[in-house]
């Protein structure tokens, strides 16, 4: 793979994580348990949409085939999206979406830290911008996880079940594929094994405060990074791509 192709694929994959998670969060507009959370959710999803725009624009530049952010977001088939399975999981109840955000953001913050030190300036600049937002998101999701875990019996039971359901989607975050290896070898990209150690430490600390046990090692789902998604993904894309697909070539 040429270095431009590596960067284009890597940036596009980062964009997919940000867009698909942002799209899931957008579904929660007008459904939050408190008005303050309504604001937080809209604000954070806007951050993710903003990050996706930067990654896709950069991917398009490195690719050099004239594709813009909207081509990446709206006009690719499902297999071309390489986001983690975790971020496409449905919102479920507030505990489910909180755990999804927490598990992803705990990883994403570490990934972004590593990417700010990578040798490609384009990626490192976006990572430096994104990390400021995501640190704040992580603080928010961690605080809610603690409140729910150490709140009432009901909230503890609910969020424990959320954690057990979603844990299986965390393995994929740390399993390097060829693109991760190349990004690391050529551009001093993230070392996923190192990130996994840090992630487990950070997650364990928050779970302890939330009076929740760390789930046991178990079978892990994978495939998102290779474009093999869950059944949920097709519906998400059908809805998101609807206007671009129904009116090809129109300007909006």
């Amino acid at each position: 793979m040429s270095s431009d192709a590596t960067l284009a694929s890597y940036a596009s994959r980062l964009g997919d994580n940000a867009l698909i998670l942002g799209q899931r969060m957008i579904e929660l507009v007008a459904a939050s348990p408190e008005l303050e959370e309504e604001l937080a959710n809209a604000n954070f999803s806007l951050d993710y949409i903003g990050q996706a725009r930067m990654y896709y624009t950069y991917a398009g530049e490195r690719e050099g085939a004239g594709r813009d952010e909207d081509d990446f977001a709206f006009l690719r088939p499902e297999h071309d999206y390489k986001n983690l399975l975790l971020v496409e999981q449905p919102n479920g109840h507030y505990g489910d979406s909180t755990v999804r955000q927490f598990l992803f953001e705990s990883w994403y913050v570490l990934l972004l830290e590593a990417l700010t030190r990578c040798s490609d300036e384009g990626i490192s600049i976006i990572a430096a911008r994104a990390i400021k937002e995501v640190r704040y998101h992580l603080r928010h999701s961690s605080q809610w996880l603690v409140r729910l875990g150490d709140g009432t019996e009901e909230s503890h039971a609910r969020v424990k079940a959320s954690l057990d359901d979603l844990w299986r989607y965390t393995g994929e975050m740390f399993a390097p594929d060829d693109l991760d290896d190349e990004m690391r070898a050529v551009f001093n990209g993230p070392h996923l094994e190192v990130i996994e150690t840090q992630w487990r430490e950070n997650v364990a600390a928050v779970l302890a405060e939330a009076t929740l046990d760390m789930p046991d090692d178990q079978w892990m789902a994978s495939g998102g990074k290779q474009g093999q998604h869950s059944e949920h993904m097709g519906f998400l894309l059908a809805e998101m791509q609807h206007l671009q697909r129904a009116y090809p070539g129109a300007t909006w």
Partner: protein, 331 residues
């Protein structure tokens, strides 16, 4: 997003007229006439307080319910830029709601009470949000017409005699005018697009024109409580004056887009320099206000579901805060 000229008098509440002396009322009116701002801790007639609570909370509820028709297209916004713009707008609305509930709280009512009144169906919100958003062009029409009408209503409220409301409106208006321009720009893009897009824009104007005119509330003759609100300088212009101003500004904008306003009798009166329009279907207005619009039940059901689904979350947050407070007290 905006308040509506509903002007329904608040019913109930203790009759405090006896406790309010002529001298107090005169002194209060003198402050209003001198354009002084009334602040939360100042003495005020009970009816003034109740009128403001009703108006500000209706405004806050409108912001919160107003998130739904636009939220309906967030997941389907056609470009990343439009998605980000719409999301920022919806976020602004949540912020306006929060800000306005806080302004109403300065008058001695809690947010829980106000939200309770919304969920029970007792409180009103702007009728416009009981109309559906059926195509992407509706998002443009809402920005252009609904936010445009909101601005007409709200600019005078920046000079409202009640300080906290006036200051809230100054901030809100800045964002609303931004939303209005974005909505118009969206319409312009559609009108310069394909035939299908232009038809979409015309259809949106057809459906939102009359409901937008209704946003200014009943005709002056039918708006019995306007006079008192004017005397208190809560209101500065009558419903019909604001509506006329909106029509005069908006018709040329529609012409620039190449769209037809859905009123065959509309004409420009050169003597008065105002547009003359057909009668508004007030039956439709009162139907929608009283719960019989296309989406009234759907909007409230969604709000109630969010509230009910969130009950265990709020309870957990309270339990956690209590535990923390107890632990700190014990330490």
């Amino acid at each position: 997003m905006y308040t509506q000229g509903l002007d329904q008098a608040g019913k109930g509440g203790p009759d405090t007229r006896e406790a309010e002396s002529r001298a107090q009322l005169d002194a209060f009116q003198a402050r209003i006439d001198a354009e002084e701002k009334i602040e939360a801790k100042d003495w005020m007639p009970e009816a003034y307080r109740r009128t403001l609570i009703r108006q500000i909370s209706q405004h806050a509820h409108s912001e919160i319910i107003g998130m739904q028709p636009e939220g309906n297209w967030l997941t389907r916004a056609p470009t990343m830029k439009r998605k980000a713009i719409l999301l920022a707008k919806v976020q602004d609305e949540a912020g306006h709601g929060l800000y306005l509930y806080s302004a109403a709280e300065t008058l001695g009512v809690s947010r829980d009470e106000m939200v309770g009144d919304l969920l029970s169906g007792k409180a009103k919100y702007s009728s416009i949000f009981n109309y559906p958003t059926l195509t992407w062009a509706d998002i443009g029409a809402i920005g252009w017409l609904v936010d445009g009408a909101a601005i007409m209503n709200q600019i005078p409220l920046c000079r409202c005699s009640y300080g906290p409301y006036s200051r809230a409106m100054i901030r809100v208006c800045k964002e609303e005018s931004f939303h209005q321009r974005q909505g118009y720009e969206l319409m312009l893009t559609l009108c310069r697009g394909t035939d299908e897009q232009k038809a979409m824009a015309q259809d949106a104007l057809n459906r939102f024109w009359w409901p937008a005119l209704m946003m200014f509330g009943p005709n002056d003759a039918a708006s019995s409580h306007s006079a008192q609100s004017m005397a208190w300088k809560i209101k500065r212009f009558s419903n019909d004056e604001l509506r006329q101003k909106f029509i005069d500004v908006t018709v040329p904008q529609a012409e620039f887009l190449g769209l037809s306003v859905p009123d065959a009798a509309l004409w420009f009166n050169e003597n008065t320099e105002h547009y003359e329009h057909s009668d508004i279907d007030w039956q439709e207005f009162f139907d929608v206000i009283s719960g019989n619009g296309p989406c009234n039940r759907q909007r409230l059901a969604k709000r109630r579901k969010a509230h009910d689904d969130g009950a265990w979350v709020r309870e957990a947050a309270r339990a956690y805060a209590d535990k923390k407070a107890a632990a700190e007290a014990a330490a």
